[in-house]
């Protein structure tokens, strides 16, 4: 039945913070979020957004580290919100992750091979030493490394790029269906990023592993992403085919974002100055209406009434959450 590898329906996550004097403050990290990743073909779905957009919360939810306030996350037909311990362990075999910090993910007490040993032991991936060695070597080769070079080293003896690739190898070795890559290259030096992105592309094409690529860097998203969801303060601003969205952004926020990426051409400078409004207006919690209102150059009274739904703009699947496009088509109904 499930054509979808991962389906997120109306996911909402609210954090309650106890402020001074017992005043409760609600921060809505994610609001009515919907996303779907098809089973076939394997694809790289980019989640792009700035800090506060909710992308890290999304990663934590998909990985099962935190629970939803409301909504559902359905993986391969199973709702994971109510999973028990055994189901969670099975889930871990299908969904793995690579994180942002290439150093913090390694236990400094152990050599690098510890990360492979833990996985092999817990998931019973190999039945004897030979199998174990071959498996690890194969995984390392896929990412362009050799066991002899790296396994017996301690994490601080390797470069950031190597460490990230080893994490990719570890994830690949489990043969998951989905890898959540949470800003995998932002802490890696610019010259080494291509090698990691290349690994992701190859894992997708050759091993059929889909990726949920979370980033704030639109350039890398443009290079490897198939679909893109651009988040703004917990909601989707625009989504669709990566090339469409970035070449022809429709949502005013996305237009601003694309415009603000510095172009590596000295003759193409930023046009115009931006003024950010005072902070209070920007970081509001349960705010009715469009979150981008305070900064939007095209804002209308209508925008304050309710959060705009996603409207079709341009090609099929390309949608923007903005009332500017309300007349164009019927609002997309999400079940």
């Amino acid at each position: 039945m499930s054509q979808m590898l991962l389906e997120i329906r109306n996911a909402t996550k609210v954090y309650t913070q106890r402020g001074m004097g017992g005043v409760k403050r609600e921060v809505v990290a994610l609001q009515d979020f919907n996303l779907s990743i098809p089973l076939k073909p394997a694809s790289i779905i980019t989640i792009a957004g700035e800090s506060g957009s909710g992308k890290t919360t999304l990663a934590q939810l998909v990985l099962g580290f935190i629970r939803l306030s409301s909504g559902q996350i359905i993986f391969d037909g199973q709702d994971i919100s109510n999973a028990d311990a055994r189901q969670i362990k099975d889930y871990r075999r299908q969904v793995q992750a690579v994180f942002q910090d290439p150093f913090g993910v390694y236990n400094p007490f152990y050599r690098v091979e510890h990360v492979f040993d833990t996985v092999i032991k817990n998931f019973k991936l190999a039945s004897n030493k030979t199998e174990r060695r071959e498996m690890i070597e194969d995984a390392l080769n896929v990412v362009g490394l050799y066991g002899g070079d790296v396994l017996r080293k301690y994490p601080h003896q390797l470069s950031g790029g190597q460490r990230q690739r080893i994490m990719m190898a570890r994830a690949y070795m489990i043969k998951p269906k989905l890898i959540v890559a949470d800003e995998p290259v932002s802490m890696v030096d610019a010259s080494l990023r291509a090698s990691i992105l290349d690994v992701m592309m190859r894992l997708k094409e050759e091993s059929g592993i889909s990726f949920l690529y979370i980033t704030h860097d639109l350039s890398t998203a443009y290079q490897i992403g198939d679909q893109i969801y651009i988040l703004y303060q917990g909601g989707i601003a625009e989504k669709g085919n990566t090339i469409d969205v970035i070449d022809k952004p429709h949502h005013p926020y996305v237009q601003l974002l694309v415009d603000s990426v510095p172009v590596p051409d000295p003759d193409v400078k930023w046009q115009g100055e931006i003024v950010l409004p005072p902070e209070e207006e920007m970081r509001s919690s349960v705010h009715s209406g469009c979150r981008f209102y305070p900064r939007c150059p095209h804002r209308m009274d209508r925008c304050l009434e309710a959060q705009p739904p996603l409207y079709e703009v341009g090609d099929v699947g390309h949608q923007a959450s903005c009332y500017l496009y309300a007349e164009n088509a019927v609002a997309e109904k999400i079940k």
Binding site: F65, K89, R92, Q96, F99, V105, Y106, N107, V119, N122
Partner: protein
Amino acid sequence: MTTTDVRHDPPIDTTLEVAQAEIPYKAKRMGRFNRWDTPWLNSKLLAGVAIISAVLLIGLLGRLFWNTDLAYTASSPLNLPPVGFVNSRGVEGTWAHPLGTENSGRDMLALLIVGAPNSFLVGVIAAGIGMSLGIFLGFSAGFIGGKVDDVIRLLSDVTITIPSLMVLIVIQSLIRQVEISTMALLIAMFAWPSPTRLIRAQVLSMKESGYVQMAKLSGSSTFSIMFREIMPNLTPYLFASFIGNATGAILTAVGLESLGLGPQRVPTLGGTVYDAISAAALLRNMWWWWGMPTLLLAFMFIGLLLINLGFDEIANPRLRQSSQ
């Protein structure tokens, strides 16, 4: 590629010459560093270990070379000064009792040889019990959190504020006969909060680390995370904490002994000082009676302090001097 014609205007040399890499540099291994420079061979640590080893050796090997029966009363002539000195009666010290004797006929050297390990023992046992309790409680508080954490934290905060020496004095003065083990246990009662807090703090911070998240993602159980991931990284802290606790315990023990509240049946360093003071050794100018044990104790504490400082430097590279 083709040749490009470029004319430089001024006749003066316009190229920027840079003397590239002509500066000699040390390509060899030596220089100020050599194979022996690892953080573990810290000078303070080594000095401290040397001192403590010396003290322990006196205690352990001393009995092979010296007759420890002389530590019992009436085994030697009374009130002899150390070699080379003359006491107030005009009697000279002899080599038979190189550090002198005291007024019950006990030989000082024998007292030191027997007393030193006893003092150590108290410290080690007390610290050991305190640490074990601390590990268990600290881990529980840090990992389980919630109500368990609240209870443990409350208990440890309260215990720390209790003036331990005072309470111990009261308790031990009520108990007539104290053994070394009893004393160690009592001291441990007040030694556990500090390691508990330390371990709890470390566990809390390590719980949030990337590698713990990774372990969860790899399907590791909570138990496995505690012992395979977090525990090994705690060992340096545990070690340093142990030394600190042992020092404190020995100090407390000596304090109690010198008030006469220590074990009566076995000689201890503090006990010897107590005897000296109560026999008015100060007035009688028998400085070796209270002086020798005090000197040995001073050495012990200096040694322990150096070990502690050495560990600090190893753990925190910024404290290390840049050129050793």
